[in-house]
């Protein structure tokens, strides 16, 4: 307790001991060679709420008071009796450069006893500690020295240290000193491991040293080495909890933090309210809370709760803080001694507080300070938190219930949907299961003898040149892709197109027909130039007025454009087959045949399914060419575009699996997708069709083709053409990281919902049209036995209906007309019909219905 040179305060057994070096006042001059050390035992009186003197003692020392100083005082165990006694370290200047140090013990009879003394040629300055024995421990010139009453000789420890952080008793180890020294870096072995270690980073470390056993203890069980650069002082507690040794350390740092370590790990940090903390004390208060009391060099003090690690209270102008049971309540209290310039007595201005019920102050002004309110606040806060927690819990459970409820509802709805779909499907009796878009079943007409086929080929080969625009082949991975592009007018008249590859060589053992997969790919050539710039031109006002109509107009236009694009993007028929079996032949010549149904115009639809077979040409596959990469796909990166021939693109698309995902974001715009494509995926658009992007990312993803179309800033469709599912998952995984989590990704199995809806509408429209057309054709063919719509009826039907209802006469007329119509319809219902016509109509309608049913089925699946 550094209070100045003349006074030291110590708490002992609930008493306050005040040590004082008395100046010899009455004896003037050099004659006085005796200095008196007095001690006063002060006890708190609960009645007067003041400290009163219980007893006092005196100790005479030779030497003037100018030569004698009190260094420090503490309570330590006397090893002879095992009793804790107050002790005080005194310094006495002897001769030049020689200093004598005395350790005095104070007995309960107020008698001082000189325990031991030692002489030094330097001054004790740094890290002086008094502890059991009593003994004294200090540091000088990076060395640790100690002396005890048992040995009475100064011993030095064989350690280098830069400061002592703590010294105290630890079970089994005896007195332990926790010190800081420069980190000893290991030799070159596993350097990487050490370069990130605390010692390597901060350059110093903790170490423990047991004085009795002269043993080193590793410092990390107290604190991480990193803190050796900042910790100035700490308190430490070692306890055995559930048979496990636990070391709790609470330390203050130069960075003005109070840190609590448990088994060497930081568990809590508290920012201190003042700068330069210099000591910590602990106090267990009546409410069984542990408090840390931190004193600062500036004379400020603050108390911190252990549990919440929050500052409980802070005080300024504090001379000294003592912790003991001053009022005899059984628990500890804090005694704050305040600086008071007007009063020289140490105990003139004080305060006893335990943040519970006890709060005594010498000064009335201090009584109603911030502390009770802070305490009340703490309690209120706790109650508040409890209440809030309960509410939170209740809210959480109700939310959970609601979610559960929602899930149930969703389930029920899903179930009913499924039931409905089943019902519909059952009734319609069509359960298309295997047919997939763009995948036509393999030509399986193997029974056809080859020569007859050849005949057919020779028949048609003359016209081939007119129909075939291009025949090409490519090799991607281990697959051969053969593509046929037909000229446009011819293309339109065909349906159910498929390709087949027939080997020219006659291998008796093997079927000459090569098994292959057929695909039809339509590539849009049109550039997707979004018409943002068009808004620069002021639109005509009319458009706004008729908003809905204009919207429809736009839609129609779009629709038209779509159709046009589909016309523009020529269809290519592609056959994909495995390459490796063919390689076995070293060199193979194949004939490419195209099978199709020739469609004639609707007038004669019964006969439309006329099968034709076209010889498209021959392809030659030689191992040499393949090894030289003649047919391999070449995609180059040219500026911001990917250049590759159209065939290359088609080949890549043909071997890929296509997946479409609808991405909807509920809140944020989907611009990250675009930056993801161009950035992370390193995609570049094809020069030929800029909608599609080619992924240049090195690795698995290379060669993936992506297509991103945004419908609104919050919705779009991402189509992926990837080699295998792993690539797909890789893409999706990286995509999900850029997408806002509020967005929703949905796999579109069979086209987007909107497209399907449009298709359905078209199909239904077609259905209606067919029935109308067929019936009108029937009408034309039927005998004109009845004159439809006689004169009067026509006349009436011309006038608006509303005018009829104005008068009674009008109503009568209307009724008459209705009667007429009813009769007419009755008559028409009884009409007879040609059987063939009926058959045709039924077939047409059934076909149309089948088509629309199929779309409905797909829609229901999407």
């Amino acid at each position: 307790m550094l209070l100045g040179e003349e006074e030291q305060v110590l708490s002992y057994n609930g008493e306050v001991l005040i040590f004082q070096l008395s100046k010899t006042k009455h004896v003037e001059g050099a004659a006085s060679k005796i200095t008196k050390l007095s001690v006063r035992r002060m006890v708190f009186d609960r009645d007067t709420k003041l400290f009163i003197q219980k007893s006092s003692g005196l100790f005479n020392m030779h030497g003037s008071h100018l030569e004698i100083e009190m260094i420090c005082c503490s309570c330590t165990t006397d090893s002879r009796s095992g009793i804790i006694l107050p002790c005080i370290l005194m310094k006495k200047k002897k001769r030049k450069n020689v200093l004598k140090y005395l350790l005095l013990l104070l007995h309960s009879s107020n008698q001082f006893e000189q325990s031991f003394h030692f002489k030094l040629d330097y001054e004790l300055k740094e890290d002086i500690r008094l502890f059991t024995g009593p003994s004294v421990l200090w540091r000088h010139a990076n060395k640790l020295f100690y002396i005890s009453s048992d040995t009475c000789t100064i011993l030095s420890a064989s350690v280098q240290l830069s400061s002592i952080v703590w010294a105290g008793e630890i079970e089994d180890e005896g007195t332990v000193v926790l010190g800081i020294r420069t980190a000893c870096l290991p030799e070159s072995e596993d350097e990487q491991e050490f370069s990130t270690s605390d010692g390597a980073i901060w350059g110093s470390e903790f170490f423990g040293y047991a004085i009795e056993t002269q043993k080193m203890i590793t410092g990390t069980c107290f604190m991480p080495h990193a803190y050796s650069r900042v910790v100035s002082v700490c308190v430490c507690k070692k306890e055995v909890l559930k048979k496990q040794l636990r070391i709790s350390v609470v330390a203050v740092t130069h960075k003005n933090q109070l840190i609590w370590f448990q088994d060497g790990l930081p568990k809590g940090v508290c920012e201190l309210p003042y700068e330069k903390p210099c000591s910590i004390k602990t106090a267990v208060t009546s409410s069984n809370d542990l408090l840390f009391i931190v004193s600062f060099a500036s004379g400020n003090t603050c108390a911190i709760w252990r549990d919440s690690f929050q500052v409980a209270s802070k005080w300024q102008k504090v001379k000294s803080v003592l912790v003991d049971d001053f009022i005899g309540s059984g628990t500890e209290q804090m005694l704050l001694l305040f600086k008071d310039d007007s009063n020289t007595d140490v105990l003139s201005t004080f305060r006893i507080i335990d943040f519970g019920e006890i709060n005594y102050a010498s000064d009335i002004n201090y009584k109603e300070d911030d502390v009770p309110t802070a305490e009340g606040l703490q309690e209120n806060g706790l109650l508040m938190v409890q209440a809030l927690e309960t509410r939170l819990q209740a809210g959480y459970t109700s939310v959970r219930e609601l979610q559960h409820h929602l899930r149930l509802k969703k389930k029920v709805i899903l179930e009913s949907c499924r039931a409905l779909i089943d019902l519909v499907q059952e009734r319609s009796h069509i359960l298309p299961t295997t047919k997939k878009e763009g995948l036509v079943s393999l030509w399986d007409d193997t029974e056809n003898p080859l020569h007859s086929l050849n005949e057919e080929v020779s028949l048609t080969s003359k016209v081939t040149d007119h129909f075939i625009e291009k025949l090409w082949q490519r090799i991607v991975d281990d697959r051969l892709i053969v593509g046929v592009k037909l000229t446009e007018p011819f293309n339109l008249s065909l349906g159910d197109v498929s390709l087949s590859l027939v080997m020219d060589q006659d291998f008796t053992l093997i079927s000459p027909i090569i098994e292959c997969q057929n695909k039809i790919i339509t590539l849009n050539k049109a550039f997707s130039a979004l018409a943002i710039s068009s808004s620069q031109i002021e639109p005509p006002p009319k458009k706004m007025k008729l908003d809905f109509h204009s919207k429809n107009d736009v839609k129609k236009e779009l629709h038209k454009r779509n159709l046009k694009i589909q016309l523009d993007g020529a269809k290519t028929f592609i056959a994909v087959t495995s390459l490796s079996p063919l390689l076995a032949f070293h060199s193979v010549r194949c004939t490419v045949l195209l099978h199709a149904k020739k469609q004639k115009h609707q007038s004669d639809s019964l006969q439309k399914s006329k099968k034709i077979t076209l010889l498209c040409g021959k392809i030659l596959l030689s191992l040499e060419d393949i090894l030289h990469g003649k047919y391999s796909v070449k995609m180059l990166r040219d500026n911001s575009y990917c250049t590759g021939s159209l065939e290359d693109i088609l080949a890549v698309l043909a071997v890929s699996i296509r997946f479409s995902f609808q991405i909807v974001s509920s809140d944020c715009t989907l611009t990250p997708v675009n930056s993801w494509l161009l950035g992370e995926m390193e995609c570049t658009p094809f020069k030929e069709c800029r909608d599609n992007l080619f992924c240049h990312k090195v690795g698995n993803l290379y060669g993936t083709v992506l297509n991103w179309t945004m419908k609104t800033p919050f919705e779009g469709v991402l189509t992926l053409f990837c080699r295998n599912l792993t690539v797909l998952f890789q893409c999706l995984h990286s995509l999900t990281r850029v997408l806002p989590p509020s967005s929703d990704i949905k796999l579109l199995r069979s086209g987007s919902k909107d497209v399907l809806t449009d298709q359905l509408a078209l199909a239904l429209e077609k259905e209606v049209l067919i029935s109308r057309n067929s019936f009108s054709s029937k009408e034309n063919k039927a005998e004109n036995s009845l004159t439809w719509g006689n004169e009067t009826g026509k006349k009436i039907s011309d006038a608006p209906v509303a005018s009829f209802l104005d008068s009674e006469e009008g109503v009568q007329q209307f009724r008459k007309k209705l009667q007429n119509e009813r009769e007419e319809s009755m008559l028409s219902m009884n009409q007879t019909m040609n059987g063939a016509l009926y058959q045709e109509i039924t077939l047409k309608i059934a076909e149309a219905q089948l088509h629309s049913d199929m779309i409905v089925w797909r829609l229901s699946k999407s």
């Binding site: 000893c184 290991p186 990130t196 991480p224 803190y227 960075k255 808004s535 944020c668 609104t712 806002p740």
Partner: protein
């Protein structure tokens, strides 16, 4: 010094422990973001946890090895802090500063007394440690966000200039005429996100948000400054950027304002439509649409828009924006300008109701106007005073004027008794507010109209003006009552009201400090003169009907004294003279009157005049009533008379 024994396992250092903790926190956040319902609560918790970790890290001296992690933790904790608050707080700037100082501390430099801008310069130029570049750049993006939020465009521009230079000193980032900040932001290469660090919001996101916010903010500034083409291109840029629905709707609305000011109302409407399609909660778009329709003169559409707006406002009062937990920082956190606030001023339903009523009345849809006015008055009864915004931007006039307008509407709808009741309210309310005599000095110092802000400040002048306003309202109310009684056929009552009006008007004492042209009168005083004229004409007509021609003549003469050229007063005067059998006099007067060019379009002229003189809406109906109705018959009579006398 003791050597570490070989084979001893190094204890896990703080750095690794911190990295693991940071990773765990980020992981927990990601999980909470995906599954948890309480995003905001999770964010708050995470913010605390990151802050605590940072506190612990800062408890140790700065070291180059630990700084990358420390800066990352700082970045994460700042993201939570900025995302949790609606706008940037000063604390965050201080945190970034602390981070930079720690970097300098680790490098053995100091910069306590530097400004943040200088600090950035120093750090980016002097710290060349490779591992620190990525975290520093990320922190730079956050600093940029903060500067954007506080409208410090200069600071962010120079920061990003530094960031790009540091990365690629050879390339000049500015590309000609394009916006420098935007091109700098776009050119900024986002540091790669290593495996060792977990960010709660990626720097890529932040970059996109910065781009959008920068474009939006600058667009708004250009819009304010009147550089419309620049504003347009910036706002269009912003509309293509990454943002939430709410912000996109706001951007579209701003685009509409821009195009509207460029004279393209149709484009403006399309932008507004888009705004509403994106976010129907963007109700200001509706009121902007109403304004555009008003400009276009499409009253039907305008009224419809206002009605929809009213309905929407009534049905769901705009809730506080619920921030999605995904983006900790969003564009809305970064764009704060007064211009935006005024563009998206939240209109009160009562305001919209009034606008509806007023527009109906102006357009002559009297029945609708009456309905709306009555609705509004009902709202007023429900204690509207607390709710009505009375700031400068409000569309509401002073409440007595609304009453008078309502009375005017009622009167035009033929509900005279109701009109009288409404006017009575105005009369009774203003009774105590008008002093017995009001001396109004004509002088140049009164000419300077006080600005709206100072008007309510309460000097002697403004107090006088306030009294004058009260007088205007009171006399106008009497005037309305007079005409209403007249319409009801109760001439005596009508005369009483007109007389009361004239009596009150006498309270004003004009005295001239010098020879001043009448043009320098206060607008209220001019209005009072008009009311006087209308009131005199009104009383005169009633006297005429009662057959008290002489009194009528006097009133009309007084009226003509106030406004010498007034055709209505002059015509009535002729009629009065005629009825008094002073036919010769009447004829000469009439001849003089018909010679004046304004004679032909009597009624039209009256209405035209009201527009020209800026009549308040509530006086228009009185003006119409004061017009002389029997022009043809009187002309015929007089011409007959002239013919007989000359022949």
């Amino acid at each position: 010094m003791k050597r570490r024994r070989r084979g001893e396992v190094p204890e896990p250092g703080c750095l690794r422990a911190w990295a693991a903790e940071s990773e765990a926190l980020a992981g927990r956040w990601r999980a909470a973001r995906c599954w948890g319902p309480g995003g905001a609560a999770a964010a708050r918790q995470q913010r605390g946890a990151f802050g605590e970790l940072l506190l612990r890290m800062r408890g140790l001296p700065a070291a180059l090895t630990t700084l990358p992690l420390e800066l990352t933790v700082l970045y994460n904790s700042l993201l939570f802090a900025m995302g949790a608050s609606d706008c940037a707080i000063n604390g965050e700037a201080e945190e970034i500063r602390q981070g930079l100082l720690r970097v300098l501390e680790a490098c053995g430099a100091s910069g306590q007394d530097l400004s943040t801008e200088e600090l950035w310069q120093k750090v980016l130029q002097e710290v060349t440690v490779e591992e620190l570049q990525a975290p520093l750049h990320r922190l730079g993006a956050l600093q940029g966000a903060w500067w954007l939020a506080t409208n410090r465009l200069g600071s962010i521009t120079s920061l990003f200039r530094l960031l790009s230079n540091a990365e690629d000193p050879g390339r000049a980032p500015c590309s000609g005429g394009k916006n420098e900040l935007l091109s700098l932001l776009k050119a900024w290469r986002v540091p790669a996100e290593g495996d060792s660090v977990s960010l709660v919001q990626s720097a890529k996101d932040l970059k996109e948000i910065l781009c959008t916010a920068a474009a939006f903010l600058q667009g708004l500034q250009e819009l304010e400054a009147g550089n419309l083409p620049a504003a347009l291109s910036l706002l269009q840029e912003a509309a293509g950027g990454f943002c939430s629905k709410r912000v996109l709707a706001q951007i579209y609305t701003c685009l509409s304002c821009c195009t509207r000011q460029m004279g393209k109302p149709q484009t403006a409407l399309q932008h507004l439509k888009r705004a509403l399609q994106v976010d129907f909660q963007c109700l200001p778009a509706l009121s902007h649409a109403a304004a555009v329709y008003h400009e276009l003169g499409e009253t039907d559409a305008e009224l419809q828009a206002l009605a929809v707006l009213y309905e929407a406002l009534e049905r769901n009062p705009p809730a506080a924006a619920s921030t999605t937990p995904y983006c900790l920082i969003q564009t809305e956190h970064l764009v704060h300008t007064p211009a935006l606030a005024s563009l998206f001023r939240h209109r009160h339903p009562s305001e919209v109701k009034y606008l509806l009523a007023q527009r109906c009345l102006q357009d002559g849809r009297v029945a609708d106007a009456v309905e709306h006015y009555l609705d509004f008055l009902a709202l007023l009864q429900d204690g509207l005073q607390q709710q009505v915004p009375l700031d400068g931007g409000s569309a509401l006039p002073r409440i007595p004027e609304v009453f008078l307008e309502a009375a005017s509407a009622l009167e035009q709808a033929g509900r005279h008794q109701d009109a009288i009741t409404v006017c009575e309210e105005v009369v009774s309310r203003t009774a105590d507010l008008i002093p017995q005599t009001l001396r109004v000095e004509e002088g140049p110092e009164q000419l300077e109209c006080p600005s709206p802000g100072t008007e309510l400040a309460g000097g002697p002048l403004s107090q006088k003006r306030e009294s004058l306003c009260c007088l205007v309202w009171r006399t106008a109310a009497y005037l309305h009552q007079g005409w209403a009684w007249a319409k009801l056929g109760k001439k005596k009552e009508a005369i009483t009201q007109f007389s009361r009006c004239l009596e009150d008007l006498l309270r004003v004492q004009l005295y001239r400090s010098g020879v001043e042209p009448t043009g320098s009168l206060l607008p209220e005083v001019k209005l009072l003169q008009e009311i006087r004229l209308l009131s005199l004409i009104g009383r005169g007509t009633q006297f005429l009907e009662l057959g008290r021609h002489r009194e009528a003549l006097l009133d009309f003469q007084h009226g003509l004294q106030i406004s010498p050229g007034d055709p209505a007063a002059a015509s009535y005067l002729v009629q009065a003279l005629w009825k008094l059998n002073r036919k010769q006099e009447a004829a000469t007067r009439w001849q003089k009157l018909s010679e004046s060019p304004a004679e032909e379009d009597g009624q039209q002229e009256g209405l035209g005049r009201c527009v020209a003189r800026r009549y308040p809406l509530y006086l228009v109906s009185c003006l119409k009533q004061a017009a002389f109705p029997h022009n043809e018959s009187l002309a015929g009579n007089i011409q007959d008379y002239l013919r007989t006398t000359t022949s």
